[in-house]
Every structure is written in structure tokens, then in C-alpha cells.
Subunit: 279 residues, 2 copies
């Protein structure tokens, strides 16, 4: 049986980890990488993330499956150049926003396209960050799936099930609102926390005391600015709304501390505890 | 050689983990537990966190070393009842705030007392949360150490070195300012984040998408309200100041997103990245 070819545009954490995960499940795929960053291409080959590197986008267009694991603005750009693919090709993007991406797909390849957001990642990036269990048991959101072709829908579901992801279906608009609360706004908090501490005169003495709580809260402030600039831009309205919801809670907390409303503060903390009955 | 006796007031995560850690290093200690919660006493015995349970505080007062691992308001209360200990007894508290505790020590036992804050913990609590490596390679801050007796200073340093902690010396006032930034304010953020999400109409759909970032950011929102109510009360002024520093950064972030100042946003994120060159 001929191997299926998978073209991966963007050889970083997400694309590399996807290849490693799929390689564990089967040897019936051939992976072809594509990345503007030459050293990422060399590294991806060396780490066996891909079998070969495409020097031109036309090679990727011939693949059975095309995976877009680049920043979200890049996804929109590259989609415009994929209009001449075969009707049996499946394109899957892994972007953290979905509404603007779904709106930007050229109509002639709309059925080729599956909009996916795997809720997985680490603060690390580049090919060397790739790990084979990044996606295991994590959620992947497939958006506006009724607009994908039935073949493409099947291909995407099979591949995400193969790497043991839990599939959730959602509209792109709803996804972006939810992602703002669960991922994008928390990144804004983590960056703000890191900068608030960095701006203190005695920052080195403060940071010397960092325990597990602070390390957890500031971990995602390591994330790539160029990737997150794009996400914040594409999800601007929802992000602002989520930040405002958070600000309201923090203001409430501060007011209770200022007014010494300790019983109310205790109840507010107990309310937050309840998140973990659900999570 | 007679065993040294260590009285542990408060048989939860901190006290239990301390006993387990010290038991690994030597068998020359005998641990006596004391806790208002009867079931915690039974559990601590069963889990070998202590060798026996004291039914009266007078038994604890006879110990060579007394460890206070209870909420910070409780520490202040119990210190008032320890004034009749021997001059060779060492009392060490593990509270997360230090200024009010140091100010509250009865003068007649000031030299017996060592104010310590181990920068370690998990969001779990109770005897069953105790683990033997909680403190390993973590920082412990010893405050106003010049006011402790030379014997007590030696006892505390030896014991924290034995469980492989890194000792940092600091004034109590400075400690509380720093702890507000590195620990207390981040707890306020985590509780606020949890409540912001919990208050959303579609909270279950939102929480279903939680990835590693959100789980990390909301982990410490599981922490005990009664413990953290006390900490927020004792460190009120510093906490408010730290929250305001954070609010300033988040406001700046929101403004850049609103005004579409993407280049500035990118630089602000890159600035936050730099934390991790220090941390």
C-alpha cells in the first residue's frame, strides 16, 4: 500500500509533536515538512519529525493531508495560496482562533478544510520542543464541521482519534468566545503578572522567593510574542470582554480586602474552589 | 542518646511533610502531634506523620522543638500560650506572613522563636496531602533572625539544611512585601480567574476546553479559604499594593489590544518573557 503523505507547514512544537504522535500509531504515513526557517527544517529532519523537506509549496500541495501549524495570521495567508489543490486533499489548521480563519478560506477549497484547535501546548517552541504525547487525552475542538467535505471530516476525525484526542464540535464564533476565557485571557494575566514583578525595584529579591504557585502562574508568560500577538489581534473583541470579566472579580477581591470584609472574602474564595469540582 | 522531641502543632500538608522529610534524614527525633481536628490526629498517626498525639498543649511545651504549621492567625494566638517554655526550646513557625507574627511574640520567648516561611506548598491540605519531598531544594526565608537566640538560630538552620532547603535571610517587613508579589497577589489572581469563568453562563462548555495553561493558572484557586483569608488579612497593605501593580499591567495590555497597538503589545510580551532568564 502506498503511504499517505502529510505535509506539515510549520515545524515547531505543534507540528513536530503531531508527527511524533502519529508515527507512534502507524508507519503508513510519509511526512513532508515546510518552514520559512531553514534551521528549523534542518532540526526537524535531524529529530525525525519529518521524512523530507519541501523546498517549494507546490510539493506540499500534492500531499493527501496538509497540516497548518503556524501562527494564526500565517494560516490566513497560506490558505490563499492553496486554492489549486485536489478535491480529495484535506487541510487541517491547528490555530488558537477560529472565526477569522474560517471566514478567510477561499470558497473553492472550503470543503477541503477542517478548522481544528487542539487544546494542548507548552510554553516552549521550535522543533526541539516537540514531544510525542503532547496531544494524548487532550481535547481538540473541530469548528463549523458542517462546512467541511464528508471525506475531509472523516480524515480529520480518524487522525485525531488515532492520536487519542477527545473531539468536541463547536461553532467558530462560540469557540473564540470560549477560548478567550479559557486560554487567551489567562495568557494576558500571566504576561501582566510577569511584567508587574519585573517592574519592581527589588525584582531579584522577589523572584528569589518564587515557589510553585508563582512558577505555574507565570509559566505561560514564556510563550512566543509573535504567536500571541496574532491571537490577541484575531480575537480582540472576545479577549477584551474576558479581561473585563476578570477585572471585575479582581476589583471585588481588592475591595473586600480594603474594606476588611473577611467573611465575604472567604465565601468568594470558597466559590472559586468549586471550579475544581467541574474541572 | 535520647531522641530529640519535636512537637508539631497543625497536622496538615506543611507539618506532615516536614515530619516525613526529617524522618528520611535521621531516626533521632520523636514527633508529637497536636491538632484541634480529632480526625486529623487519627489520620496523622495512621500515616506515621507523628509517633504520638498530645492531648494537652502542656505536652508540646516540653518538646525540644515546637513547629507551628497552622494558619497565620492561629500562630499568633498559640504563641501567647507558650510563654512558660524552657529557655532552650526552639519554636519555629511556618506562616506565609511574618510582620504581624514577629510583632506578636511575647518578649519573654522572643529568643526562643525563629520566624520561617518555607516557599513550598501544594493546593492540597490535610494530613493525607503530606509528601516527603515537599521542601527538597526549595527556599525557606528566615526573618529577623538577629532576634532569635544563638542556639535557636543554629537549631533552625540545621534542621532546614537537613531537609535540603536553601536558606534566605530577610527582615519580616521586606519578606511580607516580597511575598505579596510572589505568592499572595498571584493567589488573588487565581481565585479571580476561577470566579470569572464560574460566573459565565456557558461555564461548562468553557471549562470543557481547559488545557494545561488554564489548569496551571487556576490550580492555586483550590487553596483553603480559611488559610488564605488569614494571610490576606495579615498582609492587607502589601497585598493591595501588589494587586494595583498587576492591575496597571493588565490595563496597559487591554489598552494596547483596544487601540490595536500590536508592535507595543509584542514588545510588552517579550519583556514578560525575560522573567524566565532570571527565574
Amino acid at each position: 500500500m502506498d503511504k499517505k503523505t502529510i505535509g506539515i507547514i510549520g515545524l515547531g512544537l505543534m507540528g513536530g509533536s503531531f508527527s511524533l504522535a502519529l508515527q507512534k500509531t502507524s508507519d503508513r504515513y510519509r511526512f513532508i515538512g515546510y518552514d520559512h526557517n531553514k534551521s528549523h527544517c534542518d532540526e526537524a529532519l535531524k529529530l525525525n519529525l519529518v521524512d523530507s523537506i519541501a523546498t517549494d509549496l507546490s510539493e506540499i500541495k500534492k500531499c493527501d493531508i496538509i497540516i497548518l501549524t503556524i501562527p494564526v495570521d500565517g494560516i490566513i495567508k497560506v490558505l490563499q495560496n492553496l486554492t489549486d489543490i485536489s478535491s480529495s486533499t484535506t487541510i487541517i489548521d491547528f490555530g488558537s482562533t477560529k472565526e477569522k480563519i474560517c471566514a478567510s478560506i477561499p470558497p473553492e477549497i472550503r470543503s477541503n478544510f477542517v478548522a481544528a484547535h487542539p487544546m494542548a501546548g507548552t510554553e516552549k517552541f521550535g522543533p526541539s520542543a516537540a514531544i510525542d504525547d503532547l496531544y494524548t487525552n487532550k481535547v481538540v475542538v473541530l469548528c463549523d464541521i458542517e462546512q467541511s467535505g464528508s471525506l475531509q471530516k472523516r480524515v480529520a476525525i480518524d487522525i485525531f482519534e488515532a492520536i487519542q484526542m477527545q473531539i468536541v464540535f463547536m461553532g467558530a464564533k462560540e469557540h473564540d468566545r470560549h477560548a478567550a476565557y479559557i486560554s487567551h485571557m489567562p495568557h494576558a494575566l500571566s504576561y501582566s503578572l510577569a511584567n508587574a514583578v519585573m517592574n519592581q525595584e527589588q525584582r531579584d529579591s522577589i523572584i528569589a522567593l518564587a515557589g510553585g504557585g508563582f512558577k505555574d502562574m507565570s509559566r505561560i508568560a514564556k510563550s512566543s510574542p509573535s504567536m500571541w500577538e496574532d491571537i490577541f489581534r484575531q480575537n480582540q473583541t472576545n479577549l477584551i470582554e474576558a479581561i473585563e470579566s476578570f477585572q471585575k472579580e479582581l476589583k471585588k477581591c481588592k475591595k473586600m480586602v480594603e474594606n476588611q470584609e473577611w467573611q465575604e472574602l472567604n465565601e468568594w474564595m470558597a466559590q472559586a474552589n468549586k471550579l475544581h469540582e467541574i474541572l
